[in-house]
Each structure stands twice: as structure tokens, then as C-alpha cells.
């Protein structure tokens, strides 16, 4: 049970973090403009 929760937590953090990072990077370049 503990292992399952850990793996789920890891998945949320890792994938959430990556996509959030992507989102904010892309937003930053859109706001700054070319």
C-alpha cells in the first residue's frame, strides 16, 4: 500500500512538474514576445 501511494505520488510530481515547467516556459516566451 505504501509503495503504491509512493509511486502515485512520484507520478503526479514528476509528470505534473514537467508539464507545469513546459507550460510556464511557453507562457514566459509568449508574454515576452519576439
Amino acid at each position: 500500500m505504501q509503495l503504491l501511494l509512493l509511486v502515485i505520488a512520484v507520478a503526479v510530481v514528476v509528470l505534473g512538474g514537467s508539464f507545469a515547467g513546459m507550460y510556464f516556459l511557453n507562457r514566459s516566451i509568449d508574454q515576452t514576445g519576439r
Partner: protein
């Protein structure tokens, strides 16, 4: 200490690449990002100097004045080793590694399919936007892979598929610089064919990552 050096290098390289990636869109380097990379570089330099210093002590025990501590648990590496060898840490850690691969391979596939002409309807600049996802994946896997390697070094380095994996890995990883900086590639509009050079690079990158993943999967068995 060498592990910290590697992490420092990964952070410095990752941050520097992000700045280069952003340069494509905003046309300049912002002061904040330059200082961030500089800070990473300075910290990493310090860690590298200390690593080199300690390396010298390993090779010359005769010049040491004080006795070396006999309790190995005072060092960081054995602690990490025992943690990673514990299933409750190893499995989530390996899960991160697999997600890392998925991010890398997903990004590679999108970029490679566009460059090879399968998705000509999108301009290359559209796939350029998702490159950070692949870089996140590579960084994640450097961290997780390195710690897994540390936990059972002798087994991994003696595996047949370890060396090919480590040779193919930099080829696949370094190519992101080409994809993010190439001018002709950036100018490839929707419906246009990518330059021939880019197609060769794309094919090489795809094959490299296929090799890396196969090598990684074969590690415990060959």
C-alpha cells in the same frame, strides 16, 4: 562529491540550454537567466574543485596526516546505496526513470516524425516548443539513473549492454542542441521539407534512443 559534480553539471547545462531555447523566441538573453546560469556554473566549479581535491587524497594516502574514518556510513554514497537498494525507494525511483524515458521518447518521436516529413502540416517551430519536455526527461534520468548505478555499480558497469547504452545516450541527448539552434530547421514552414542534414540527424537520434532504451532494458539480463 563526484555525484554532486554531476548534478551541478546537469543543472548548469540544463539551465544554459533553457536560456538558448528561450533566445529563439525573445531574441535576447535576459539578465536574470544569465545570472542564474552563472550562479550554477560558479557553484559547480566550486564542487568540481573540491571533488578534484578529494580525488587527489584518494590516490595519495601516504600524504594524509589524520587517520581516515573507518565507519563508511559517515559518507553520503553508502547511505544512498542502502536507500536505493531498499525496494520502497527503488521502485518509485525507477518509476521516475521510466517516466523520464517516456517523456524523452515522446518528444523525440514528435520531432523526428516532423523532420522526416510525416507531419509536414506543422511548422518546425511548433515542435520546437515541446523540446523542453524531452530535456526534462533526460535530466530526470541522469539523476535517477546515476543513483541506481551507484547503488550497484559493479553489476551495471560489467553488463554487456551498459557501454553501448552510455555511448548512444550522449548522441541522442546532444542532438537537442542541433534541433533547438539550427537556423534552416527553424525556418522550415508548414508543408515544407526539412533539410537533408536534419533528416540524417533525426534518423540517428531516433536510432540512438531506441538503442538506449533497449540497452537499459537488457541491463539486468545480458
Amino acid at each position: 562529491m563526484a555525484l554532486l559534480t554531476l548534478f551541478g553539471l546537469a543543472f548548469t547545462g540544463g539551465a544554459a540550454w533553457m536560456v538558448l531555447w528561450r533566445y529563439r523566441y525573445i531574441g535576447r538573453f535576459t539578465n536574470r537567466s544569465l545570472y542564474l546560469v552563472l550562479a550554477f556554473a560558479i557553484v559547480t566549479f566550486g564542487i568540481m574543485a573540491e571533488t578534484g581535491h578529494r580525488g587527489g587524497q584518494i590516490n595519495h594516502p601516504e600524504i594524509r596526516t589524520e587517520a581516515a574514518p573507518t565507519d563508511s556510513s559517515v559518507y553520503l554514497s553508502p547511505k544512498i546505496e542502502s536507500l536505493i537498494n531498499n525496494v520502497i525507494w527503488f521502485v518509485p525511483w525507477q518509476t521516475i526513470h521510466f517516466f523520464g524515458y517516456s517523456l524523452v521518447f515522446g518528444t523525440v518521436l514528435v520531432v523526428v516524425l516532423r523532420v522526416l516529413g510525416v507531419w509536414k502540416s506543422v511548422p518546425f517551430s511548433a515542435v520546437h516548443r515541446i523540446l523542453p519536455l524531452g530535456v526534462f526527461g533526460v535530466m530526470m534520468n541522469i539523476f535517477t539513473g546515476m543513483l541506481m548505478l551507484m547503488a550497484d555499480t559493479y553489476r551495471y558497469v560489467n553488463e554487456t549492454s551498459f557501454t553501448p547504452k552510455m555511448i548512444l545516450l550522449p548522441i541522442g541527448a546532444i542532438a537537442v542542441i542541433y534541433f533547438s539552434l539550427s537556423e534552416p530547421l527553424w525556418n522550415t514552414k508548414a508543408g515544407e521539407d526539412a533539410p537533408m542534414t536534419a533528416k540524417w540527424v533525426a534518423a540517428l537520434v531516433l536510432l540512438s534512443w531506441i538503442g538506449v532504451i533497449m540497452g537499459g532494458r537488457l541491463l539486468p539480463y545480458v
